[in-house]
């Protein structure tokens, strides 16, 4: 048969670790198959094993069959395999910035890929132009002379796709192709991949941790857990009636709650005409200009924008870590100025919980820090109370940050912030680094804290879905300026600004809608 047929693929990594334990799948030409699972489930290893790209080490064992158009790739020698890679199989990688040689121009890398796949020297320029146009890039001398770091993430991923297509492969393997990208760019890259599959009649194996994202693209979804497939079928079936606890948990985790409608309440935190600028060498870069918002006690406000929109600068200014150039931040008449006093009113939970914890200090020592700084009594009792509040086991107190899981570290950072009893809690991308299940738990925790403690919560994120889960109102930021604000549901239903619309459109479709939708990428296309 034509296309990719994998039978009983088993991979043992040095260790030994049984990373893949009997994977079977088929990717017919022109179809999209999704392989979904949490990190470490063996999905990426499977993809690399199919392309025979796993680093050769003593102890690496790959068995089973990987048939591409009837030929078993596992039986080929390295020279024959080189003829297959590029010409029959193309691979698209997770982080496009890391998938390009940083020391070589885009043009040189394209030329090299074309030459490696047997293009005649005379035809290379024309083929390169056609490829760049196919992935939606303008073939200009400037692009060809550009270095990878000069391109945006979306452009880089388009170049990586163009390179993968250089040998006209019949099968494309994509490993988390959009994970490292901004949400609007994610949507564009997914659309490009879908179009390419339809136009070229290629097979696409899409590997991701994101079930809704894959379900929106694939005609068949395989859910992987600990090296084996635990659930498989059309997206509709997997989402509608998940057969395995793992796929059920994934479906549940993807369904985030919706915050209640906003209610009128007197504002506690008032931010007015905020302007933040940084000095870069000799000139000044404006990060934030004229931003205004208010938050009431017990209310969560979402601040949404893509990377570079100035969100984190606002978080740092509200937390009193940077002094704004002008404008005011006002909490019940108090302003950030005296760091000690402000710390007891407003706390920041930083984006990277591991980085925010001193590696030399145990969890207990981290939680004692607020008491030592402010010379507060009753450390023991109050730590115990806060631990219960954030759902962290007291048995973990003796551990160092690296010995805690990602979710535990995040809870530890939240607990440390709460020990000072702040009126305002600022959370910078609190769930970005977490997988779907943890994300849901942490969001629920934040919502509960907000309600029970009457906290004014400022949640900063690029992810509308996460923000909508706990924030009744949102403020949308672009290039340091507020472009839109209002009730979250209203903004998402009828965005008034093009950038907001792009952010909303980038969200995966709601799971309920997916169940009734026909897949647009079926072979018939």
């Amino acid at each position: 048969m034509s296309g990719l047929l994998v039978r009983d693929l088993r991979v043992t990594l040095p260790g030994p670790v049984e990373a893949v334990r009997g994977l079977s799948l088929a990717v017919p030409p022109g179809s999209v198959v999704g392989l979904v699972g949490a990190s470490g489930c063996g999905k990426s290893v499977s993809l690399l094993a199919i392309a025979r790209l796993l680093p050769k080490r003593r102890g690496l064992v790959v068995s089973g069959e990987v048939l591409l158009d009837g030929r078993d790739l596992l039986a080929l020698d390295e020279v024959a395999m080189r003829g297959v890679r590029g010409r029959r199989i193309g691979v698209v990688f997770q982080d496009p910035a890391a998938a390009l040689d940083p020391l070589m121009t885009i043009g040189a890398q394209l030329d090299e890929a074309l030459a490696a796949n047997g293009a005649a020297p005379a035809g290379i320029a024309g083929r390169a132009q056609a490829l760049l146009e196919e992935v939606g890039l303008q073939d200009t001398p400037r692009l060809r002379a550009a270095w990878p770091h000069e391109l945006s993430g979306g452009q880089q991923q388009r170049v990586v796709i163009a390179l993968a297509l250089a040998g006209d492969p019949s099968l494309l393997l994509a490993d988390e192709p959009t994970t490292a990208l901004d949400p609007t760019v994610q949507a564009q890259v997914l659309r490009l991949l879908r179009d390419l599959v339809a136009r070229r009649g290629m097979g696409l194996l899409l590997v991701s941790h994101d079930l809704p994202l894959v379900a929106g693209q694939a005609s068949e979804v395989l859910v992987m857990h600990r090296g084996t497939v635990v659930d498989a079928g059309p997206p509709r079936a997997v989402l509608g009636t998940p057969r395995h606890p793992v796929s059920r948990a994934m479906v549940e985790a993807a369904q985030l709650a919706r915050a209640p409608a906003p209610r009128a309440a007197p504002a506690r935190l008032r931010v007015q005409a905020l302007r933040i600028a940084y000095r870069r060498g000799t000139h000044v870069v404006n990060a934030v200009q004229g931003v205004e918002f208010e938050i009431a006690a017990g209310e969560a406000l979402g601040l949404v924008g893509e990377s570079g929109s100035g969100k984190s600068s606002i978080a740092r200014a509200v937390a009193g870590l940077v002094a704004p150039l002008s404008g005011s931040i006002d909490l019940d008449g108090a302003r950030p100025g005296d760091p000690r006093a402000w710390a007891r009113r407003c706390q920041l939970v930083a984006q990277d919980p591991l980085g925010a914890l001193n590696p030399r200090h145990t969890a207990r020592r981290a939680l004692e820090e607020p008491f030592r700084i402010h010379r507060l009594p009753d450390a023991e009792a109050r730590i115990a109370a806060v631990l219960a509040e954030v759902g962290l086991d007291a048995a973990l107190l003796g551990r160092y940050p690296t010995q805690l899981s990602g979710g535990q570290r995040q809870r530890l950072c939240i607990a440390r912030a709460l020990l000072l009893d702040p009126a305002v809690l600022v959370c910078d991308e609190p769930v970005t680094a977490l997988d779907a299940a943890l994300r849901r738990q942490v969001l629920e925790l934040l919502a509960a804290l907000c309600a029970q403690r009457g906290l004014a919560l400022l949640m900063i994120s690029h992810d509308f879905a996460a923000v909508r889960a706990i924030c009744p109102r949102v403020v949308v930021l672009d290039a340091g300026v507020v472009i839109e604000s209002g009730p979250a549901e209203e903004v998402m239903r009828a965005p008034r600004h093009a950038r907001t619309a792009a952010l909303v459109a980038a969200l995966p479709p709601p799971l309920a809608a997916l169940g009734n939708r026909r897949c647009t990428t079926h072979p018939s296309a």
Binding site: P339, L348, A350, A356, I373, T402
Partner: protein
């Protein structure tokens, strides 16, 4: 890093010695043994010397015998006794100069970092540039200016190696003050003094001590080179470099005169370097605690 310094219960059961042995690894243990031996010889010094290192005690250029283990030099002085005195001077000058470099470089470097401002920036920039010059050249310049003798040479070597410490201190300071946990402590309301003392400084101790361990054997070697050149510690004192210089004149008739001090220098620098390298591996800031 915290993990690297803290002993596991199993380590504790074996006692401090066992823990230290495991911490250092095989080559590090050899280094420690050599270092302890060299320091012991330096401390006991005269008590160990069988003869007067400065007075003749037999036939000139006599090869090693049962009485004179390392033979006699061109003036009939006992080479072993002179070597022991040399060990004392070399190690004393090495440690003193390393401490001076540490205090000057790390102390002034950190102070400049903490104060900030253009003058401190200029100072740190100058230190950074001086670091690119060969230390032996800097030491020669200083010796040329301030003269020879034990004190001046210690001072010159201390100054010559100070920029290395300034750089380590500065790099560490910048890294620490930019770390997420220092920002987090700032967010909790910690004062600047607390940030530096509680959060940044403990993470600087490792790199600075490591640097000192790496620098010490180099300082000792450079002192020997300066002595060999004739611009080292006290002209008549039997330092290793001077013994080597004296020996090279009779290298064909009495090779033991050169061989003994060269071996002493090589073995001690080897031991200190192995110890330093083992320390560096264990205290590498890139190591993840756990």
């Amino acid at each position: 890093m915290a993990g690297a310094l803290s002993a596991t219960p199993a380590d504790r059961a074996r006692g401090l010695g066992g823990w230290l042995a495991a911490w250092l690894g095989g080559w590090g243990q050899l280094g420690l043994a050599i270092t302890v031996l060299a320091v012991a010889v330096a401390l006991l010094g005269p008590a160990l010397s069988p003869f007067d290192p400065l007075a003749p005690s037999g036939r000139r250029l006599q090869p090693p015998t049962a009485e004179h283990w390392l033979g006699l030099d061109a003036l009939g002085r006992d080479v072993l006794s002179r070597l022991i005195t040399g060990t004392q001077i070399s190690i004393a000058v090495g440690i003193a100069a390393t401490l001076l470099a540490f205090a000057l470089g790390a102390g002034i470097g950190l102070l400049a970092c903490a104060i900030g401002g253009p003058v401190a920036g200029l100072f740190l920039g100058a230190m950074d540039l001086l670091r690119t010059l060969p230390s032996i050249l800097l030491a020669l310049v200083l010796v040329a200016a301030i003269g020879t003798g034990t004190g001046p040479v210690t001072f010159a070597l201390g100054l010559a190696f100070a920029p290395v410490f300034a750089r380590v201190a500065r790099a560490g300071y910048l890294r620490e003050m930019g770390a997420g946990y220092v920002t987090a402590a700032r967010g909790l309301g910690a004062s600047r003094v607390r940030l530096v003392l509680v959060h940044a400084a403990p993470n600087l101790v490792g790199p600075l001590l490591t640097q000192a361990a790496i620098i010490l054997p180099r300082v000792i070697t450079k002192e020997a080179v300066l002595s060999f050149f004739g611009v080292g510690a006290a002209p008549e004192a039997p330092t290793w470099g001077r013994l080597i210089a004296e020996g090279t004149r009779f290298v064909e008739r009495a090779p033991h005169l050169v061989l003994a001090p060269v071996l002493a220098l090589a073995v001690v620098t080897l031991g200190l370097s192995l110890l330093g390298d083992a320390t560096r591996r264990r205290l590498d800031p890139n190591r993840v605690a756990g």
